[in-house]
Symmetry: C2
């Protein structure tokens, strides 16, 4: 019997050991080249997740926040949510004959994007209100799902949700494997992202933070509904990002990932906490495989945050030189 018990323990030990070794051997970041960016990530993750290390962080506090547009998926030639809004204007046009005469709708219907954008923030706000409000939350979710099923990116011809960054998907999974909780913190609409964030990024709806319009509770007959109003509730951009993080999470993240000046305050807020911290910018440097833009681009404008990254020693990912592939559909394995 003693011999049997010894065998039990020995077998358990072998099984656990072999399992652990196999898990450790698999590269969690196969699309990341062996450069400084990758090393900075893995060093940080090992530091905070190794019991007894100086920078150890308890799992509950391992909060990582990710911008979406330009950080997890592409944002050119226009924010994908703007493409959604333009398509919605076209779909809704039969119900709004007056749009043929009214800007910015007239320009949208005529495919004149330049005039649309020349209307500035006010025009974009009008488009968002006309296309994102007036439905229930459940109807809006279905509209987003239907659009993603049918819409295709104008340059790649791919569904928009194919145009996510493979190295970032690996990074999300790697962090979660090390007991991080991963959040999206985006200027994009919270209810635009939630219908697909879990299937595409593995990020459940309760871990998505974004901009929002007001909703109200209403009983229609006996049926309770949440109705979306044409009124801004919250803009989750720039200084709004730390505000949104505090409102939704109530903890300061230990790692933040962005790509533009709209993420600067989130990276500052994350970096200013006590203990091990990590801040990363995705720098769009690959005109062949994706797009190359920074200081002069109105979309994904990256200027001050790049200066601060260099000054503070934040990690700056050079997409061209740090990533083996950009999109999942490029993978050759």
């Amino acid at each position: 019997m003693k011999q049997n018990l010894f065998n039990v323990y020995f077998l358990c030990f072998i099984l656990v050991f072999v399992g652990t070794a196999a898990a450790k051997d698999a590269d969690p970041l196969p699309s990341w080249k062996d450069t400084a960016s990758r090393l900075a990530i893995t060093r940080f993750v090992q530091e905070v997740s190794t019991t007894g290390s100086a920078g150890f962080v308890t799992p509950a506090e391992r909060i990582a926040v990710f911008d979406n547009d330009g950080t997890l998926w592409s944002e050119q030639p226009m924010y994908f949510q703007l493409a959604f809004a333009l398509d919605r204007v076209k779909a809704l046009a039969p119900l709004h004959p007056e749009w043929k005469q009214e800007q910015p709708f007239k320009a949208v219907l005529e495919g004149d994007l330049k005039t649309v954008l020349s209307g500035g923030e006010h025009a974009l706000l009008e488009l968002v209100m006309a296309t994102h409000a007036g439905t229930t939350t459940e109807e809006f979710e279905q509209i987003v799902r239907d659009w993603l099923d049918s819409a295709r990116h104008p340059e790649t011809g791919r569904p928009y949700t194919d145009m996510v960054y493979q190295p970032m998907l690996e990074l999300l999974a790697y962090l979660r494997a090390n007991d991080f909780k991963t959040y999206i913190v985006s200027g994009g609409g919270i209810e635009f992202m939630r219908p697909w964030s879990e299937s595409v990024y593995g990020i459940p709806p309760e871990q998505v933070i974004g901009s929002s319009i007001k909703t109200v509770y209403e009983l229609r007959g006996n049926k309770p509904l949440l109705v979306r109003l044409p009124e801004i509730n919250f803009i989750d951009d720039k200084g709004g990002k730390p505000v949104g993080i505090n409102q939704h999470i109530g903890r300061r993240p230990i790692a933040a990932f962005g790509n533009s000046d709209g993420d600067l305050q989130m990276l500052q807020w994350t970096s200013a906490g006590v203990g091990a911290r990590f801040a990363l910018l995705v720098h769009h440097t690959d005109a062949d495989r994706e797009w190359a833009y920074d200081r002069k681009s109105p979309i994904g404008h990256l200027d001050k945050a790049l200066e601060e990254a260099l000054a503070e020693g934040w990690t700056v990912v050079d997409m061209k030189n740090d990533w083996k592939v950009i999109y999942p559909f490029e993978r050759q394995d």
Copy 2:
């Protein structure tokens, strides 16, 4: 070797079986009497968590939402957060000599609660703004912690966080043991509850939803701060509760727990979902061990929700007859 392997499997089976059986034998709700309320809870939990049952719900969708005041802890003779605000007025009074002449502050400083309350919502709002704004989020958290350490309930002489309901603590743990995610959805301040919700209820800050004032991001020197402004951001009460749930969670709960008309819309919203649903009201019926109040009480006013509970077959807990003990400090085990 074959014999050894068989022994390994047999031993594993025994260990797992014994462990499971022991866990199943321990009563997860020892403070609940053997009444219909308890039975309704356990039936629902078994239904949604048993693979293959008609009402099975995947763990990710097992969302349970709890009101706080009067549902998880007491709310008499006044909401505990109001006691906090009144104490803050007294603490801040030396910095505000003008309060000696100005209502509602004058009445607070003179201990004249009747006059304070006669000012209605406007007076309460003024008190909240004067006592909850003007600090950073970190300073406010410390103020709440310090107050809870020193403040005592006027009737029991106990710390306020002792005055939580033992049966509800057991219910929270029982739900979590069955893979529910438990949330607070309270009219109380989100940043008033977060400093202690985890240690008292086992509910982490990211699962606390509440009313809030506006905050702004600010750099003081190089230090990023979130500053609390004297302006309402969100009232998480009545129709605001489903709105807050949608904003923070993005899923409809399958179980909701409240005690007043302020919770009615949350219970309606939860109950109207597809599949197994559970709605429960805590009815304050125990004047000896706690308080007895409902339709005529301004605090924890329970009228319409009680009617709807009876009409819809929601569970109504009779505190006097359903609970063996009210507070943890009464326990005799």
